[in-house]
Each structure stands twice: as structure tokens, then as C-alpha cells.
């Protein structure tokens, strides 16, 4: 039971409104810190609808005993230039057939109330995470509030979850 990181970033790049930066080199994965060559310093950066930028950190994995399931977690940054990035944490689990069987997400944005989904284990899980996040996103975050980029965070969560599904290998 493994996770194909290149399949993740390739799938992400294949969404029509997502553009993975320098995708032709190492499938878009690059060292965030040029002095660090550790595996978990790798990130993928991408724009959504051209103008809004996000960064997914290399997903952390734990295989459950007997290959019974795979837990995958990640941190996603909404890159806001001079302003502090927003953070989206995703926790998820894939069953032994590679189907998403659990996800939960929360979002932290400077000077805003955090957003938190329920534990989702049924239905179209990625869709449900999207809908629960979207319910809480405000219409306007004010000056320097990156409103348009924040309004796309629910979509970012969904396309990341779908790309994680594509990355799962038995």
C-alpha cells in the first residue's frame, strides 16, 4: 500500500482551473528550502483560476496494521504574499481498496474565526468536505483579506482529496 506522489501532482495539474508550477520538473515537486534535501521539505505549488496561489506539503502517511487502511494527512497553504498564509489541514483515510473512507478538515485564517468540518465517513466525502467549508466562508474579508483566494479554499480541499485518491496504490 503506497502513495504515488507524482500521480498526485499530475492529477492536480489535470484539473482545468489548476496550474501546477514548473510541472515538467519532478512532476512539480520541489524543495521549499533550498538548503534542505529532506523528503518532507518537498512541496507542490499551483494557481487556481490563474490568480490565486496555494502550496501542498508532501503528504504524511501511515499504513495501518496488515495493510488494512492508509491514513494520509497534509497541510495546504493559501499563499497571500506579504500577508500571513492561511492554513488548511486535511486528515483522511483510505480503505484497503483505495476508497476514501474518512476525511476531516480545518482552516485557520489570521484574525478570522477558524472553520471546522465534521468527521465525514459517508457519501461523497470530498464533496461533503467542500460543502461544509463553503458554508462558513464569508462573502467579504475586507482590505488585504484575499477574499477571492479564500473563497476557493473549499475547491482546493476537494481537488486535493480527489488527487490523493488518484495517488493511492495497492
Amino acid at each position: 500500500m503506497t502513495f504515488d506522489y507524482n500521480a498526485f501532482s499530475t492529477t492536480l495539474d489535470n484539473y482545468s482551473n489548476v496550474d501546477v508550477k514548473h510541472a515538467s520538473t519532478n512532476h512539480g515537486w520541489f524543495q521549499k528550502d533550498s538548503d534542505d534535501n529532506s523528503e518532507f521539505d518537498l512541496v507542490v505549488e499551483y494557481s487556481y483560476d490563474d490568480d490565486y496561489n496555494y502550496r501542498t506539503w508532501r503528504q504524511e502517511l501511515t499504513v495501518m496494521e496488515g495493510n488494512a487502511a492508509l491514513f494520509v494527512s497534509t497541510k495546504i497553504d493559501h499563499i497571500r504574499g506579504e500577508n500571513l498564509d492561511d492554513h488548511l489541514i486535511l486528515m483522511s483515510c483510505f480503505n484497503a481498496n483505495g476508497e476514501l473512507c474518512y476525511a476531516q478538515a480545518f482552516v485557520q485564517m489570521k484574525n478570522e474565526d477558524p472553520i471546522h468540518t465534521d468527521v465525514v465517513t459517508t457519501g461523497d466525502i470530498a464533496d461533503e468536505i467542500h460543502d461544509q467549508l463553503e458554508d462558513k466562508i464569508k462573502d467579504d474579508y475586507g482590505i488585504n483579506g484575499s477574499t477571492e483566494g479564500r473563497q476557493r479554499i473549499p475547491h482546493i480541499a476537494k481537488v486535493n482529496l480527489y488527487s490523493m485518491v488518484a495517488a493511492f496504490k495497492k
Binding site: 521549499k32 534542505d36 529532506s38 523528503e39 518532507f40 521539505d41 506539503w57 508532501r58 504524511e60 501511515t62 499504513v63 495501518m64 496494521e65 496488515g66 495493510n67 488494512a68 487502511a69 491514513f71 494527512s73 497534509t74 497541510k75 497553504d77 500571513l84 498564509d85 492554513h87 489541514i89 486528515m91 483515510c93 480503505n95 484497503a96 481498496n97 476508497e99 476514501l100 473512507c101 474518512y102 476531516q104 480545518f106 485557520q108 485564517m109 489570521k110 477558524p114 471546522h116 465534521d118 468527521v119 465517513t121 459517508t122 466525502i125
Partner: protein, 179 residues
């Protein structure tokens, strides 16, 4: 019952980890932050349970680390019975007092997890243990994140929650019993 814990198996599940604290811990970097996991220890044993303890730090450089103490109880089959946690944020005075999660009390819909066991050939023994770990991790992530997310906008403090969940699973993967 002979209960055993494999430290080498436990440590090997932390990718790129380095030994620290005179050999008593490992440290690893993930999602742009650094974490320290002390070697789990057996705290007590009864005829029906084994209680293990794990301490974890979110390493914050010049500031006081965030600390988590986990107490994890296993039964005579090395299945997870309960986890309790205490959470203390460095500097800011935030904390979660000791809180207990008991596996049998949790009632998530786990059909999506369990439904795959038969087709994937997962044994009943493994399946039962897996469900308990799954339940406890989902519950821990949910309960802890609701509190910690309000403390401060710090990505490393936030990602400490998944680190704790991975640790519960990795510990459960590293314990076994022989009758």
C-alpha cells in the same frame, strides 16, 4: 500474556527521523515544522491491560515547545482500548487538561472502512483492531482540533494534531501479544 513493543518498528514509521535526546527520542520534520517523539514506555500492567505512555513536542526553536502527553491502553489482544491526552501550548498558557477517549464509546459510521476488509482479504483479528484505532484517531482529531484551532494562527501548532494521530496508529502497529 506476553506483551511486546517494538521500538525499531515504531521509529521506522517516522520518515527521515533522527535520533535525539541522548537516544531517548527521535525528531523529524514534516509539513514545514519539527516534532520530537520520545520513546514510548510501558507505564503499568494488569491482568487485562497494558498502559503505555508517549510524550511528544512540537519544537519551536527560540520559544517554549508545545507538549503532548499520550496515555494509551491496550487489551490482552494488543487492541486499543483508550487514549488519554494532555495538551500544553508553549508560552501562551493554552492547555487541554487530561481527556479520555474510550474506543467502545465511539459510534462513527465505519461502513466505508469495514466494507473493504473482506474483498481485500483482511483477517477478522486485524479488522477488529483496525476499527478501534480508526475510531479513536478520528475522534481525537475532531475533539483536539476544535480547541487548538482557536489558539493561534501557527501552521506547526495545527499540524501537531495529525502528528499525534499518526503516533497513535504507529504505536498500535508496534505492539503485539503472544499468549
Amino acid at each position: 500474556m506476553q506483551f511486546s513493543f517494538s521500538k525499531s518498528n515504531f521509529r521506522a514509521q517516522y520518515p527521515g527521523a533522527e535520533v535525539a535526546k541522548d537516544g531517548d527520542a527521535i525528531e523529524y520534520k514534516v509539513e514545514d515544522s519539527n516534532y520530537r517523539i520520545y520513546d514510548p514506555s510501558i507505564k503499568s500492567k494488569t491482568s487485562s491491560t497494558v498502559t503505555m505512555e508517549v510524550k511528544l513536542d512540537h519544537i519551536r526553536g527560540g520559544a517554549t515547545d508545545d507538549h503532548v502527553d499520550l496515555t494509551v491502553v491496550y487489551d490482552t489482544q494488543a487492541h486499543l482500548v483508550s487514549v488519554s491526552y494532555e495538551w500544553e501550548a508553549g508560552n501562551d498558557g493554552y492547555q487541554i487538561p487530561e481527556t479520555l477517549i474510550t474506543a467502545v464509546d465511539i459510534a462513527f459510521d465505519v461502513a466505508g472502512l469495514v466494507g473493504a476488509f473482506e474483498t481485500a482479504g483482511i483477517s477478522e483479528e486485524v479488522a477488529e483492531g483496525t476499527k478501534e484505532v480508526f475510531d479513536v484517531c478520528c475522534k481525537a482529531f475532531n475533539d483536539i482540533s476544535k480547541v487548538v484551532v482557536k489558539w493561534s494562527d501557527n501552521g506547526g501548532r495545527m499540524y501537531f494534531i495529525p502528528v499525534v494521530c499518526h503516533t497513535i496508529i504507529r504505536l498500535s502497529n508496534s505492539v503485539s501479544v503472544t499468549q
